[in-house]
């Protein structure tokens, strides 16, 4: 019974469908379509301003149906264009594959290792990093290399020996026991502690500037400050010896770059002169900067600031000055190169510096006009997107500034002590190495880091190249397309310096270091690797004397054994078996 009922209903429905889906004529389709279209079109009239639209459509259709069609197409195209993703890549370049072809390509694909394994010739670089047991300072205990206690440490950046200063440690402990160690928040949220505000005030009053901002790490400071101001289309005229942080800042900011020869003010002037006609034509002036360092990290040379300031004012450029190595070192009170040359800090628009070197703390800072600093609080990525400096580190820097300001005869006691030791070391080392056929001092006399490098004649005689890396960045203003490859000569030259370091450590119980520039990351050519003697006031003149006595002999011993390019093969084996 129920089954027949079921059959009955199904037949009924099929007939019903059949009647409605009779093949309609073309006319009836068009009429239904236009009916419904007009029906919906009438709704348009209910919208505000729709009446006018309706009238327009009707009128245009009556006059010229083709035009209406054209307008409709245009409208559809507009909508489609609007909805299309903006980040669509250039489709014409893409090759079309079927899913199976993609699978095959995936099977075929053999990616390289994530990182290249460290090979035999590179491994010694890791092994030669000194490891210190207990506190770091002017005298340390070494756990590796030549083990020993009371090793004189000519390798640290704590130039004013403040890291172990009693007052500073006391203040640091006070802060830790009221606020803990970490700031736990970004400065724009709840990470600005009272001590941070005080430190900003302290740095500003120390540097005689309006305002300051502090960063959680020294190395990131320039890399973050510069791109906050320099954008695409802006111009930077840059010293061709700047440090890696600035190199990366330039790359990231995508600005136009002109280079001038390292610390060559005549060349700078000719570059500025050459750029001037083009810049004068700019309808809207773009930002222009001269980018340089106080004491150059790579070369230890001192910037010729008076000349630079003159040029900058003449050609109307702003100056970005990285004082990482000169703060706490130069000038009567350690205010850096500006004080050293007696130049008003207001002449330099952006000053950045490190608090991890002379100040015996950590982090970096930037100081200058209120406006410039304020802009960074929202636009400098490393400030906005990272946690604040630990509060105790801020207090350490503030106290370090107080310590520096203790004066005698209008000069900071500790800074003049450092300057005295620097010039003592520099002078004696210079006389001592004067006759050396192998090595020479290449930096400026005021730098706390004394740079020694193999002499060019000697380097040539053993077949070392003029420079390492590539000049692409200097030549074109764009970094080289690919990273520098491993250069064995670079390793070998560094290894010669390491041998000197090891021998000094073994025979004198003195720790030196060398420049550890990473060839693969450097966008600028590296001229010569350096042996570094870092002076700090925890050491005495006697300590310096004990470094110098017989220093030349050690160098002679090592370098005379490497005289021809062939000797490098033996050296290479030594390097592998380090």
């Amino acid at each position: 019974m129920s089954e027949s009922e079921y059959i009955f209903t199904t037949t009924k429905t099929t007939t019903a469908i059949a009647t409605t889906t009779l093949p309609p004529t073309l006319d009836s389709i068009t009429s239904t379509l236009s009916d419904t279209f007009v029906h919906y079109l009438n709704y348009l009239g209910k919208l505000p301003g729709g009446d006018y639209l309706l009238w327009y459509i009707k009128a245009s259709y009556k006059d010229d149906p083709i035009r209406s069609l054209f307008e409709l197409m245009l409208f559809i195209f507009g909508v489609r264009y609007f909805l299309m993703s903006k980040r669509k890549e250039n489709k014409s370049e893409l090759v079309k594959f079927s899913q199976r072809e993609i699978d095959e390509l995936i099977d075929d694909w053999n990616p390289t290792e994530l990182v290249e394994p460290v090979n035999d010739t590179e491994d010694w670089q890791l092994k030669s990093i000194p490891q210190i047991e207990g506190p770091n300072g002017p005298k340390v205990k070494l756990m590796n290399l030549t083990k020993g206690e009371n090793v004189l440490n000519f390798a640290i950046n704590d130039f004013l020996n403040l890291s172990r200063n009693e007052t500073i440690r006391h203040k640091a402990k006070d802060i830790i026991s009221t606020t803990g160690v970490g700031a736990c928040s970004a400065p724009n949220f709840y990470g600005t502690q009272e001590v941070h505000v005080r430190l900003e005030e302290d740095i500003s009053s120390f540097m005689h500037t309006d305002n300051s901002i502090i960063y959680g790490q020294d190395f990131i400071t320039s890399t973050s400050v510069l791109p906050a101001f320099v954008k695409r289309g802006d111009l930077c005229v840059v010293d061709s010896g700047v440090n890696l942080a600035i190199q990366k800042a330039l790359v990231v900011s995508r600005c136009d770059i002109s280079w001038y020869n390292h610390n060559d003010m005549n060349h700078l002037e000719s570059v500025l002169k050459e750029l001037k006609p083009g810049l004068d034509k700019q309808k809207q002036i773009q930002r222009r900067f001269i980018v340089t360092e106080g004491i150059f990290d790579n070369t230890g040379e001192l910037v010729n600031l008076p000349e630079l300031v003159k040029l900058k004012n003449q050609y109307k450029y702003r100056v970005f000055l990285d004082e990482t190595n000169s703060i706490g070192v130069l000038g009567d009170f350690g205010r850096g190169v500006t004080e050293h040359f007696g130049i008003d800090n207001k002449e330099i628009e952006i000053i950045v510096g490190s608090m991890a070197k002379s100040f015996g703390s950590s982090g970096g800072f930037c100081t200058g006009t209120k406006q410039m600093i304020h802009h960074q609080r929202l636009s400098s990525l490393a400030y906005v997107f990272s946690a604040s400096l630990p509060p105790y580190s801020a207090k350490v820097t503030s106290t370090a500034i107080e310590e520096i300001l203790h004066q005698k005869n209008g000069k900071s006691i500790i800074v003049s002590q450092l300057q005295h030791l620097i010039s003592y070391t520099f002078k004696n080392l210079l006389t001592h190495l004067k006759s050396s056929p192998f090595i020479e001092i290449v930096n400026d006399s005021s730098s706390p880091t004394i740079h020694l490098a193999l002499k060019n004649e000697y380097r040539e005689s053993i077949g070392l190249p003029q420079y390492y890396g590539n000049v692409e960045f200097v030549r074109t203003g764009k970094r080289a397309k690919f990273n520098n490859e491993l250069d064995e000569h670079y390793l070998l030259e560094n290894f010669i310096l390491q041998k000197i370091i090891d021998e000094v450590l073994k025979s004198k119980n003195i720790l030196l270091t060398r420049s550890k520039a990473l060839l693969e990351h450097e966008n600028l050519p590296i001229r010569r690797p350096r042996l570094l003697v870092l002076v700090n006031i925890g050491l005495t003149e006697n300590d310096v004397d004990s470094l110098i006595t017989g220093f030349n002999d050690i160098i002679n011993d090592i370098c005379t054994s490497i005289k021809t390019p062939n000797d490098l093969t033996t050296l290479r084996n030594e390097m592998i078996n380090y």
Binding site: S163, T179, V181, C184, Y190, K248, A382
Partner: protein, 562 residues
């Protein structure tokens, strides 16, 4: 009554007894019931958190609000430039110098953010623990503040103090103080120079062991960690596939490295697979040569959304397509997982399957800095070619001591039981607050177990309203908007901490309930859970919420409960 001053006053001395102060930094657990072990159930699929949407009129009014703000801003700029040129002098050329930044670029900051400037960067003093102490201030003029000299003690839902190690008392502080005595205040030198001490080596070994990798390297800042690690692992022949909501530091790092980058949709595994497949098939642009390698860069816990990444699926894809995985655990390490070992621990995945595990020590450990960890071979290369390692400062001793001691507390080596309690408290607190807010009718994003709880406000005017009202009620919260989030979804970001007690959270819920009614924030549809009756939007009364929340928040999948 002190006279208001324009400079920040000295922090007052707190002379309350030490026990009281300690309790203000880390509240004592009030009942054993308020603990929970958060782990993703094995063999169960990943639950994608549902992002509820408000009624259409909220969207429309949000857009309208921004439109009005923008129009008024431009009108003010237009007339301001004519009638008050001195106020705009910094935006125009001056004696041949271009302005520091142009007016268009700074429009958002000048005309929008500046109006609610007082809700950001409130200066504080003392440890950012359970309570945070803010200096009261009043805005005068355009950007100046006046300080009446008073302070406010606010419940802290703003700091990344996940496990409550933002303390100035306790075992970690003792260690930190001792390290200052023993080691001094500075790292003194780059690590590759003469800045490596036994403390650094111990700390790195401990971190490697903690995260379950063979080796780890420490860097003095979290942002800097990401910023300079990419040049060591990626070159221009490398493709990095980056989640669209990855942190700025990852994007910065990729830019520094010069690697090619492709962005995939946030936490969308289908899109990720599509991007990988196409990338392998197409090869490098123009030349169509195959990529040297492909690195997938994702975060464990996204700090603005509160989402956990679908790690199992990412690992599966990475293995299937021979890619490498870079996992940023900035927010998840310590805060997530039954043992605090991050998302790997939470999903039960062997951390060794991940090529590079990055994390920060700023958040859960109350220290600062970051780490990179991986296999011995990979770390050896990174140690050699890490720019910060050769050029930047090393981590200072007190920070190392804080990392070592807090990590040992979590592991149970120091004060056994304390670490576990902290882990289980944050897990409970996160779920408790999240469920409570959902039931009250707020739109909250993110995974059930995420300690980051974004509460959506949408309208720009509601941001300062909520922030100021809660501040007056004694709760410190963070508001974020464009550019950290999409322009329509301005939000409050709550960061839950182990230092908070259940009573603190009740108090928070009560106050949010009040504010939610006052400024109209309860517009969830119930899609993301919390409804009393299935299908109806959740609008529980605060009494009902508090009566059932403890047991209910421990049930699995808060998003699906009827």
């Amino acid at each position: 009554m002190k006279k208001p001053s324009n400079t920040l006053p000295q922090a007052p001395v707190d002379d309350r007894p030490p026990e009281v102060l300690a309790d203000l930094e880390f509240g004592k657990l009030t009942s054993k019931e308020y603990l929970y072990v958060a782990k993703h159930p094995e063999n169960e699929p990943y639950i994608k958190s549902i992002e509820d949407e408000p009624p259409l009129f909220i969207y429309i009014s949000t857009y309208l609000s921004y439109l009005i703000l923008i129009i008024i801003g431009h009108i003010r700029d237009f007339f301001g430039k004519i009638f008050k040129p001195q106020e705009y002098s910094h935006l125009v050329e001056q004696n041949g110098y271009a302005p520091w930044y142009d007016g268009f670029e700074s429009f958002y900051e000048r005309r929008m953010k500046n109006r609610i400037d007082d809700c950001f960067a409130r200066p504080i003093y003392g440890a950012p623990g359970r309570f945070i102490h803010c200096f009261d201030r009043k805005k005068v003029g355009k950007s100046e503040y006046e300080y009446p000299g008073t302070t406010s003690e606010c419940l802290n839902l703003s700091s990344y103090n996940y496990l409550g190690f933002g303390q100035s008392k306790g075992v970690c502080t003792t260690h930190a103080l001792k390290s200052i005595d023993d080691y001094g205040t500075s790292g003194c030198s780059p690590r590759a120079g003469a800045g490596t001490t036994d403390l650094h080596l111990d700390c790195e070994a401990l971190i490697a062991d903690f995260v379950g990798q063979e080796d780890a390297i420490l860097i003095s800042q979290g942002y800097g960690t990401n910023g300079f690690v990419f040049p060591s692992i990626a070159d221009p022949k490398t493709l990095v596939i980056s989640d669209e909501l990855n942190h700025a530091s990852i994007r910065f790092g990729i830019r520094v490295s010069g690697a090619q980058v492709k962005v995939c949709k946030h936490n969308d595994m289908k899109d990720l697979e599509k991007v990988i497949r196409n990338a392998i098939a197409q090869g490098q642009p123009k030349t169509h040569r195959p990529w040297n390698k492909i690195i997938i860069a994702v975060e464990g816990l996204y700090s603005m959304e509160g989402n956990l990444c679908d790690l199992r699926e990412v690992v599966r894809l990475k293995e299937k397509y021979k890619c490498y995985l870079f996992l940023d655990e900035a927010h998840s390490i310590g805060a997530i997982g039954p043992n605090g070992r991050g998302v790997c621990d939470y999903f039960g995945i062997d951390p060794k399957k991940i090529d590079i595990l990055m994390g920060t020590l700023t958040k859960s450990f109350g220290a600062t800095g970051g780490y990179i960890s991986g296999s011995k071979e990979i770390m050896k290369r990174i140690r050699l070619s890490y720019a910060t390692n050769s050029y930047g400062e090393s981590v200072p001793p007190a920070v190392l001591a804080q990392i070592i001691s807090s990590m040992k507390v979590i592991k149970g080596d120091i004060n056994p039981g304390e670490g576990l309690e902290r882990l289980q408290r944050i897990a409970f607190n996160s779920r408790y607050l999240r469920l409570g807010l959902k039931r009250l009718g707020f739109i909250v994003y993110g995974a059930d177990d995420s300690p980051v709880i974004p509460l959506l406000l949408f309208l720009p005017a509601k941001m300062p309203a909520v922030s100021r009202m809660l501040y007056d009620m004694g709760i410190a919260i963070v508001i974020t908007a464009y550019p950290a989030t999409p322009i329509v979804s301005g939000r409050v970001r709550l960061c839950v901490s182990s230092a908070l007690t259940k009573e603190d959270l009740d108090d928070t819920l009560r106050k949010f309930n009040e504010i939610g009614d006052l400024v109209f924030l309860k517009f969830s549809s119930g899609r993301a859970g919390g409804s009393k009756v299935k299908g109806k939007p959740p609008r529980w009364s605060i009494e009902d919420v508090l009566a059932h929340n403890v047991e209910d928040c421990k049930k699995p999948n808060l998003g699906e409960m009827p």
